[in-house]
Assembly symmetry: C2
Homo-oligomer: 221 residues x 2
Amino acid sequence: MYRLYHAPLSPFCRKVRLVLAEKRIEAELLEERYWERSSDFLRRNPAGKVPILRVDGRNLAESQAICEYLEETVPTPALLPKDADARYEVRRLCAWFDDGFFREVTSNLLYERVNKKIQGAGYPDSGKVKAGTKAIKFHLDYMAWLLDKRRWLAGDEMTLADFAAAAHLSALDYTSDVDWGRNEGVKNWYATIKSRPAFRGILSDQVPGFMPPPHYADLDF
Amino acid sequence: MYRLYHAPLSPFCRKVRLVLAEKRIEAELLEERYWERSSDFLRRNPAGKVPILRVDGRNLAESQAICEYLEETVPTPALLPKDADARYEVRRLCAWFDDGFFREVTSNLLYERVNKKIQGAGYPDSGKVKAGTKAIKFHLDYMAWLLDKRRWLAGDEMTLADFAAAAHLSALDYTSDVDWGRNEGVKNWYATIKSRPAFRGILSDQVPGFMPPPHYADLDF
């Protein structure tokens, strides 16, 4: 019995949701207003963050640790390769997106525009939004450079790295922050991963007060 | 042939140095002035961060991905347990220190006081230093709570989680930011890990302009 406490546009929650769905693990989804830091929530995760995956009475935190756990306990389909060099590259790219991309892009765009409003935390900082708008171009170009040499981000098989990247980009696409016209390779990669059954859940997300653009859930965008 | 590009007080570099030393992997250490973002450096790691581990001509980045790689390629002595639940707990705690502890403590204390000066990036923000001084108490208490139930942070064996924590605390100890009188369990844990041969390298670090306190390298502090 799996239950995920999550926030719909959180890229870290989306990564875990994609892994759960790809591995066909049924999980009950519960939205968590994590910024209200309820005592129940802090007991489940003293770090005060989502996602939290409840498995057989244990509360698991930290999205990358959760994904590695799911990979080890439900190994099929595999989202990490067998070879150590290839596994390293997947983990490097997960960190690339969950650390650098998050700090430079997701937190500057999505968190400034959406999270602040939902949490009543004031207005977007225009300097940060500008920095995010500039940084996403560099990151899309880096992805294009990788995809020019590889079928998927970390190699010729789809891995957790693709889900980490798609989790961020799909959340940013909800607020029209991704210029899909910039790199054809990136657009084709996203079209392929977006059409997987595992993606259906996040394409049907609705955040009150923020309507996604029509192309958000369109597989032929 | 291993070569590590590092910065002496970086907790992420220290974690990798501890793992290399514990696994008796000889590595050449080269200090990298990463904030100058030389083109050679950015070619090695476009994310612009240390550590970078050069192995057989490849440049590996992201400290956690590097440590997992070292664990898979040089498995003895093991720094991750065999059981999936136990491995999860190690990875959760690595993220606890490298994400939350880093953001709330290390970046507010060490980066404000030391890195800014070394990099000529201005004066410490007193609000951040104050927040860090407050946050480290919560984190030391959390460690004490864990160590009250366990011999080591993630269980009854020493793991990568202990090295992740010790990497941050040793860097903060260099600037006298750790109150070892607060929790006896934490002090005993640190005394044990500090006395390992793997720790010798980081205890002999010297950063020009910043002398460590006398107790820094003292095993009987």
